[in-house]
Symmetry: C2
Subunit: 267 residues, 2 copies
DNA sequence: CGGAGTCTTGACCTCTATCAAGTTTTGTGG
DNA sequence: CCACAAAACTTGATAGAGGTCAAGACTCCG
């Protein structure tokens, strides 16, 4: 989503981060032609918020005030279901817009908190309105981004349809790795999850235990290696293979079919 | 979504349907002030497609050509997962826009087919572009609709996080009943599902068998009654109660834990 | 009335949630 | 830099929920 460019920003270089100009430029589009708007762009890129780990950006139900562009770090959006168990609705990674859905209802949905120290650009609703009326292309671009977000969430639904925990987990890791990719020189094969296992599990409707078990299982087969939140995919496409089969080994679907269901590769 | 008004259209009155003018008016907004655009509106409301049960509107990957507004009937969007099992990504009910996500990528996602005889208004991409450039309010409205759709899908994710099949099913029925409500005089307490159990199950990542079992279970408790696809909710809020508890019958969550958690209806 | 498709019911078995310890990692203060 | 405490993660045992296969009942149509 948006234009992503590996960041080397002038300011605080503690964390790898997006070049905010590039991303915002993607949103502003034609507005940039106008020298007058350069000024605004400059203001937007300076107008930032930073959050410590665990700090909250917005709470559930707060009225829409601004769209945020995540520059560095990672966030999560959570709710609490009626029975009290925590639910993770989404994660947010550098280069992504946060708060789009609040454009529809006028209120933020869920509690948005930082998973790690994060930096964000703030695009105030007033500025957004200003820009949108002055430059039609801005709204066109926003519409495109929102539509893309709808598509992303539709694919997320697909992901959740994988009944099997193993499939969901593999798909989610691919998804997250893809979104993190920008920041990693190694592409998909190596990445660091910013969130706890419990968050990942809650995102997928699983328990941390199940999540852990499958990861260890894959590791025991040599497909991946993990060390805490650090991941490395040893067998290229291993995740894809797992993700694409609800059916275990290319072996049986069910009882009375074939003996050793080990559900694994030779190992 | 959109403005919904119970329909009494002049044309073919076989099926209860939305008043297309009202819905389109919600999209077009200010454009309507312009007498010139009335003409376009007239054209859009006439420009319709109708589909027989099972017929397809668009296929996966087709390039974006038009946005559709469903006037009557019901559609589903499906994909096939890599292992060949069918997945239902979404249902579409009267008054809803179809194809928004294709605005982002330029291509439709999934196979869109009719669940029952359906009628749709066609808003060609060219017309859309025309309108959008002439009337900024149109794009603003579309952005709002897209953002709302993002929110809807975020809540859908929440729904899927209900691990328990019973909870998912109850939430989904509430969701669908709500979207169907416009057409039913009895509100939420009585409705007819347009889709087969198998589709509903595939939408939720369940099997038809499990779906059926839970429905019959609720029926045996007198909470609902069903006859084929016809539903009636006998105990008001029964679905809400089911939906809000992962915890079964006021009994235990698990062995050795808690005597009576209540939280259930009288059995 | 018959036949196809849809829905229900049953038996069985796998998978995942749950509870309960361990173990490792992370963060903090000495 | 080490020691300690608090999280986070892993591992194990167990049972309940849901998937799978199979067959029967019901519906809808022609």
């Amino acid at each position: 989503m948006g234009q992503r460019v590996q960041g080397t920003d002038g300011g605080n270089g503690e964390v790898p981060s997006m070049c905010p100009r590039c991303v915002l430029a993607g949103i502003l589009g034609e507005a940039l032609q106008d020298p007058d708007s350069r000024q605004l762009l400059a203001r937007l890129t300076q107008d930032k918020t930073s959050l410590g780990c665990g700090q909250t950006l917005r709470r559930d139900g707060e009225v829409f005030q601004a769209l945020y562009m995540l520059r560095a770090g990672a966030l999560k959006t959570t709710t609490v279901s009626e029975d009290g168990s925590p639910q993770v609705i989404d994660f947010h990674f550098p280069g992504e817009l946060i708060g789009l859905s609040a454009l529809g209802t006028g209120r933020y949905l869920g509690l948005i908190t930082a998973l790690s120290p994060s930096a964000l650009c703030v695009i105030r609703s007033t500025d957004l309105e200003d820009l949108s009326t002055r430059y039609p292309g801005v709204r066109k671009r926003l519409l495109q981004l929102a539509a893309r977000e709808v598509g992303r969430r539709e694919r997320m639904h697909q992901l959740m349809l994988g009944t099997r925990a193993e499939v969901r987990l593999a798909l989610a890791l691919l998804n997250i790795a893809g979104r993190l990719q920008v920041l990693s020189a190694d592409g998909l094969s190596r990445f660091r999850l910013p969130m706890a296992r419990a968050d990942l599990a809650a995102y997928l409707g699983l328990t941390p235990e199940t999540t852990s078990r499958h990861l260890r299982n894959w590791e025991s087969k040599g497909w991946i290696s993990t060390r805490g939140r650090e991941f490395r995919v040893e067998v290229p496409d291993a995740l894809q293979v797992i993700a694409s089969r609800r059916i275990p080994d290319g072996v049986s679907v069910n009882h009375t079919r074939l003996a050793g269901i080990g559900s694994g590769l030779p190992g």
